[in-house]
Symmetry: C2
């Protein structure tokens, strides 16, 4: 194998849906712009497409870089590219920004056609299942009937799981990574605190801050700081920061910075508040809260996943306390009870929930072998092996 | 044994220290009022005093009730009383509100003698060791040279631990419950997010909100919600709330309440913001952050605890993810390495960190037996046994 390299410079494209997108809440969204990127080449047999689903604060920009933008590597660039585990020499990779997000696809910062003003808090509630429907419409437009695979981590894993039951005939393989079949009460609680920080920021103006020329940055900062704590493991924080003081000695300050971990969190919060939309944060954390495929099946995840025809890969990380291995095992158990084909890898990695974005050799080894086996099944497999 | 009962109606008292209280930061505090309560009777030999140390949001009011105040039971009323594990028929129990707090002892809502205005953010930083010094001054005033025992949970456990090295000759037994030898980076991180929520509330006015006639309630609410999540175990939240919807069906709201756990957290935040002082929250979370007896001993907890002469009881709870059993075992190991006498109980309780406040039969059984053995050593033990 050649040394893995980048997919290089990439350019996002936009699809405007010609029909409204019906939402599972009963509402409907129109117009809908879907911003997406693709990497690699679609085979003439159109059988080598892999859909990558993004999580809370990511976008369609999963790999490569944007022209004239330094440090613009995609959020899963370590995974996707020529010679990488999701090898763009074999696969045509698609990543789409979900509606409700704030990176180009129709979302709360876009004009509400009814008023001409930004949607703001009036943007309809979108759910994981709505995103899957929107992604399916994109595939329709690209002329792709069946996915070789769908893959996602965290909230992206929920989308991958939903794909297998909403469009069972359109997805041959599904990788559900660092995910859960539904949030726990504690997960919801963390989301709710973050939302309260945003909603009670006086600059939030009930979600119509753009009309007021403000941004609820204070709330976004706190929300992001809370999130970051849940993405990292206790051990990862201990080894990264420990109790290290910022200035080597105590300053005796309650409002200033004493410990390095405080400096790190504040920096993450500041950065986030500069680029992320507050209403999007509310919408996406609600999509997380709402996801619960078992609910419509009397609480039975097994029955909820009965329609799935895909072959599954489920991956969890030992130090992920946000979506613990136990939650992944619930998915595996339901799939096994259904006699679905499923592989499960529990990766002993120190990084907590964030591990799914990192380049752990055991984790990437699992994905490399999984995608390698899928590549063998493609129409162009013989030439690729030659 | 008679049926356990309450200590009944209690009245707080106030001691004004006649000399300034030197603080470990180098500052000094004067005047200092110390509000405290006592339960039971001091033996003529003055050997049956037990000091109870309070944690973040508690006060001197540990047991009994206040006259004409419904539902004013003390915060550890299930532990302290006639026939209870800390039996006031044998022991003279003292609980003092720590300086910097907001329940009567000198704190940031009190006037700064230099200005006549409330201290606010100018109140000096107080640390666990300062509280221990203040508690020792109270004992001096009460004519108590040696404690039969000191006991505390969480931040209170840190005070109990500090007692044994600051005043090794004055404390015969120490119970350190659901505590830690120092906060982890993750613990500090949670404190810091809570502080940022308070400090960035526009009503905070850099800590001088009382002069502005405001209270940073938004920040206090968020801070308390974060705290509550860390006090409960994931399992406790799951069994208490699960994914139960408040109204039985989804309302599709990002700003309103969908799940019962959200309703609970908001209620806790609202209540807290009505009675707790924001500067006190900053001061006390900083006292937690700063506590680290090993720091002055090259990181060696063993050396830090070498001066201790007390007999220890260390208790942890299996589902406490804030101060895990592992942290308690660090204390136990350091004590054993010093050949100190230590008993350790790891209680399999589902309630998380909050378990130390609850009436778990195994937990209370451990404390009952421990205090029972101490009672045997008291001067009045023979009459009590008769």
């Amino acid at each position: 194998m050649d040394f893995p390299s980048s997919v290089g410079e990439v350019t996002p494209r936009t699809l405007r849906l010609d029909r409204p997108l019906p939402l599972h809440s009963g509402a409907s969204l129109a117009p809908v712009d879907l911003v997406y990127e693709t990497y690699g080449t679609l085979h003439p047999a159109r059988d080598n497409a892999v859909l990558v689903c993004h999580a809370l604060n990511a976008s369609h920009h999963a790999a490569g870089h944007h022209a004239d933008t330094p440090r613009s590597e995609g959020w899963w660039d370590n995974l996707i590219g020529p010679g990488k585990p999701l090898d763009t020499r074999h696969f045509f990779v698609i990543c789409m920004n979900n509606p409700g997000s704030c990176f180009g696809s129709t979302g709360p910062t876009h004009p509400n056609p009814a008023t001409g003003q930004p949607w703001g808090a009036d943007f309809p509630v979108v759910q994981v299942e709505d995103w899957v429907d929107a992604q399916a419409r994109l595939l329709d437009a690209l002329g792709i009937d069946t996915l070789a695979a769908v893959i996602g981590g965290s909230l992206g894993g929920m989308q991958a799981l939903a794909w297998t039951v909403q469009y069972p005939e359109r997805v041959r393989h599904a990788a559900v990574i660092a995910s859960a079949p539904a949030l726990s009460a504690q997960n919801i609680a963390f989301n709710e605190v973050a939302r309260r920080a945003i909603v009670t920021d006086p600059d939030f103006h009930e979600g119509h801050y753009l009309r007021h020329g403000t941004v609820p940055k204070r709330g976004l900062r706190v929300a992001r700081m809370i999130g970051h704590i849940t993405y990292l493991s206790d051990d990862a924080m201990a080894s990264k920061f420990g109790r290290e003081l910022r200035n080597g000695h105590l300053a005796y300050t309650t409002q200033g910075i004493e410990f390095q971990v405080e400096s790190y969190l504040r920096h993450q919060g500041d950065k986030f508040s500069e680029y992320f939309d507050a209403n999007t944060y509310l919408l996406i954390t609600r999509a997380l809260d709402y996801f619960d495929p078992a609910r419509a099946h009397g609480g039975s995840l097994r029955r909820a996943l009965a329609a799935a025809r895909a072959k599954f890969l489920v991956v969890s990380f030992t130090t992920d306390w946000r979506f613990t291995p136990q939650r992944s095992r619930e998915i595996v158990k339901a799939l096994l009870d259904n006699r679905s084909e499923v592989s499960y890898a529990e990766i002993d990695a120190p990084h907590g929930h964030d591990a799914f974005l990192m380049e752990d050799p055991r984790y990437h080894g699992v994905l490399r072998r999984w995608f390698g086996r899928i590549a063998q099944t493609l129409s162009g497999a013989k030439e690729l092996q030659a």
